[in-house]
């Protein structure tokens, strides 16, 4: 019984984390057709900036500790916006509409660069921002099982971000325009949509989401080199399962992977390593375009 609860809650927590990581990536792909290999670096940069600022905030111990909960997203937004804008305007702008695979390679190069860049800025020693994680205390289930409220909060945040993204795409004019771009770039251009501006905005939002995922994770981990590379393949798996470019898909993929993984950890820890790829394989073997992806046959 406790195990079942544990599986469900762990699954939900891990799923929301996966969703936070994958959301930005899938949005960027959906609009720009860029599968962003450097997304993990955004995650790392978000984590580093948050961790360094939060630990500074507490080391100079003035003010209410709860402010740190606001510092985290603030860092993410600033860091993500800066790096996102920089990369989009400095590089990707010149590559709009290029071959998807080429863009994978370009962003792969970006990843290599950003990995060392973060190292140059923050060094190799770990950063800690554990205070916010402790701040919210814990909730008990059964005799021994306890969860950090901070993790439970992540579930809420993931849901909110998901809903906001959905509403923004479906309930606002800008969002409708964006979907027009996603659906058919040529027509959108013909309609006079400023695609370049759309792309810039999308990439910045995606970068901010990536950084946000990092910033929100920072308090629970020791922020050290390599954390970015770890998340890329995970995020890939999730959005490929869900269907590239679909927010709903990312959510579904995250939930599927999250639950599958926590089930494995509790029931058969040995297979934990394969679960994610296993799921990805099954889904794609049955539904090549992913859960929510749509196939478009070529007109001849």
């Amino acid at each position: 019984m406790t195990t079942l609860i544990a599986i469900l809650i762990d699954g939900a927590i891990y799923a929301s984390w996966l969703f936070l990581v994958a959301a930005g990536m899938t949005i960027i792909y959906g609009v720009m057709r860029v599968l962003n290999m450097a997304h993990g670096s955004f995650y790392a940069i978000g984590a580093y900036s948050a961790a360094s600022l939060v630990s500074w905030y507490f080391s100079s111990d003035q003010g209410n500790p709860y402010w740190s909960l606001l510092i985290l997203p603030a860092c993410a937004i600033v860091a993500g916006a800066i790096i996102g804008l920089f990369i989009e305007q400095g590089l990707l702008r010149f590559l709009h509409g290029r071959d998807e695979i080429l863009m994978v390679i370009v962003t792969y190069a970006l990843m290599l660069i950003l990995e060392d860049a973060t190292k140059l800025i923050w060094g190799v020693n770990p950063y800690f921002a554990y205070q916010p994680y402790k701040l919210l205390g814990q909730t008990g289930f059964g005799e021994h099982l306890r969860f950090a409220n901070y993790d439970l909060m992540l579930i809420g945040i993931a849901i909110v971000i998901g809903l906001v993204a959905w509403a923004a795409l479906n309930r606002t004019n800008k969002g409708r325009l964006l979907r027009a771009v996603i659906h058919d770039r040529e027509i959108a251009i013909a309609m006079g949509v400023n695609v370049n501006a759309m792309f810039a905005a999308t990439f910045v939002i995606g970068a901010i989401l990536g950084a946000l995922a990092g910033a929100l994770t920072a308090p629970a981990i020791s922020v050290s080199p390599g954390i970015g590379v770890e998340v890329i393949v995970l995020a890939f798996a999730v959005i490929v399962i869900g269907g590239l470019g679909s927010i709903g898909g990312a959510a579904a993929g995250a939930l599927l992977v999250g639950l599958a993984r926590s089930f494995a950890v509790h029931i058969a820890p040995e297979i934990e390593l394969f679960v994610i790829y296993g799921v990805m394989f099954l889904v794609l073997a049955i539904r090549p375009q992913g859960l929510f992806g749509q196939t478009l046959a070529r007109r001849i």
Binding site: Y14, E115, I221, S224, P225, H266, P269
Partner: protein, 440 residues
């Protein structure tokens, strides 16, 4: 006619490209290859990736400190003589990141292109296994200052040029088992959470078997195998909480370890449980009370916080803190003792001021017993190529007021007590009940 012309051009162009490549490599290296009368040491350790922070960089810093101090004759006796045998030491630093195949390539470059006189390095077991045969093949004195795998001298049966001045991982876990058995007699159930790779798998095998041998009645209630560098242990922590063991063993290191302690602590996983971290000493500076007092930490030997009081340590520790603004952890100590081992070996037989020959170095180092900040190092195993040292475990104590972390209830185990004798496989030695172990 015209096509002939093209062919020749085409052929030419291909050849030219290749030729220039080959030349460029040889040329650009001739400078390095030049023998400048300095004693060149290749130092290989993680400068990037997850292992850089906890291990690689402290080790590299320690190497910089020691080499500089030796060159200025700043190291106290018996190492007051400048450099190595009076010759200035030149250090060539390389990143260990990038996989074993690449490391074998770089190792050969170090020896054959950069013409180093000795190589000190390697943290990753995989790299050590790959380098070991190459070291013997190329015949250059090679000192593994860390790598925990017990297979090194299984791969190279009777080593000539290969040395290891540090202990291997089996020692950590046998000592840990003894320490727990002695200090926590009423433990019934144990669980392990290990990184899912060789290090973690071997550590858990050694510990669970050793502890099971010492206390046959104990029961393993959970094994968790998160992937290396996962960073998030929510599900694993829940699983451990549900299993609710008396003791949790972990061979986690670096960021993973600190993250685990943080997340587990915040979720009360460690309340009323004993935790043993075989590599915990590297975290002492960072834990800052995130880890419950009484957590059992190991330092892979008499290093870092476990290091003894002696003249060398009285110089080394403050010097390191002064230069790098943090106290030296075990990788720093291990690097220091590797370099000092090389120095004393080279100076044992070579005439002062002369470049020591390879033979002088390897003969000097084999079976040598020398002083280091961590105390006396005896090259007593694997025909004098594997160091024997004591290993200590202790309990973490954090004083919130002073913000200082200390160790209490420290127990030290002589190498003879926890090291399998030459020619025995660890698992067999443990199963047999540690025959011939000399414990005081």
């Amino acid at each position: 006619m015209k096509s002939k012309l093209r062919i020749s051009h085409h052929t030419l162009r291909l050849s030219v490209i290749a030729a220039t490549l080959v030349l460029s490599t040889t040329m650009s290296t001739s400078a390095n290859a030049a023998d400048n009368g300095k004693y060149r040491i290749g130092v290989v350790t993680f400068l990037s990736g997850a292992a850089a922070g906890p291990f690689g960089v402290p080790a590299a810093n320690s190497a910089r400190l020691i080499v500089e101090a030796l060159n200025n004759g700043k190291v106290p006796a018996p190492y007051a003589k400048k450099g190595i045998n009076g010759l200035e030491i030149e250090m060539v630093l390389l990143d260990e990141n990038g996989g074993a195949t690449k490391q074998t390539e770089e190792f050969r470059n170090l020896v054959q292109r950069q013409k180093v006189d000795a190589v000190i390095g390697y943290i990753s077991s995989g790299d050590c296994l790959a380098i070991a045969p190459a070291a013997e093949e190329l015949g250059v004195p090679t000192i593994f200052f860390d790598c925990g795998t017990s297979k090194v001298f299984e791969v190279v049966k009777n080593p000539k040029f290969l040395f290891r001045t540090g202990l291997d991982a089996v020692v950590d876990n046998i000592a840990a088992a003894r320490y727990v058995a002695e200090t926590r007699p009423n433990i019934k159930t144990i669980a392990g959470i290990e990184q899912n790779y060789s290090w973690g798998q071997e550590s858990w095998a050694d510990f669970s078997q050793a502890f099971g041998r010492i206390k046959p009645e104990i029961k393993v209630v959970s094994e968790q195998w998160p992937k290396l560098g996962q960073g998030q242990y929510g599900a694993e922590i829940s699983a451990l909480s549900v299993a609710n063991p008396d003791l949790i063993h972990s061979s986690f290191w670096g960021g993973d370890m600190e993250a685990l302690m943080l997340q587990g602590g915040a979720r009360g996983l460690f309340d009323k449980k004993t935790v043993v971290l075989t590599g915990g000493e590297t975290g002492m500076e960072h834990f800052k009370g995130q880890v419950a007092n009484g957590t059992i930490l190991g330092g892979r030997g008499p290093f870092g916080a476990f290091s003894p009081k002696n003249a060398l340590n009285d110089w080394f520790r403050p010097a390191f803190v002064a230069q790098f603004k943090e106290s030296p952890t075990y990788p720093a100590y291990k690097m220091a003792q590797a370099i000092l081992g090389l120095k004393s070996a080279a100076e044992k037989s070579a005439k002062p001021g002369v470049m020591p020959s390879t033979d002088q170095v390897i003969q000097g180092l084999a079976g040598l017993s020398y002083e280091a900040p961590s105390g006396t190092v005896k090259m007593a195993r694997s025909n004098g190529h594997q160091a024997v040292q004591s290993i200590s475990f202790g309990e973490y104590q954090f004083d919130a007021k002073s913000g200082k972390a200390t160790l209490s209830n420290v127990k030290t185990y002589a190498g003879e007590c926890v090291m399998p004798p030459d020619g025995t496989v660890n698992a067999d030695w443990i199963k047999a009940g540690f025959p011939g172990a000399k414990c005081n």
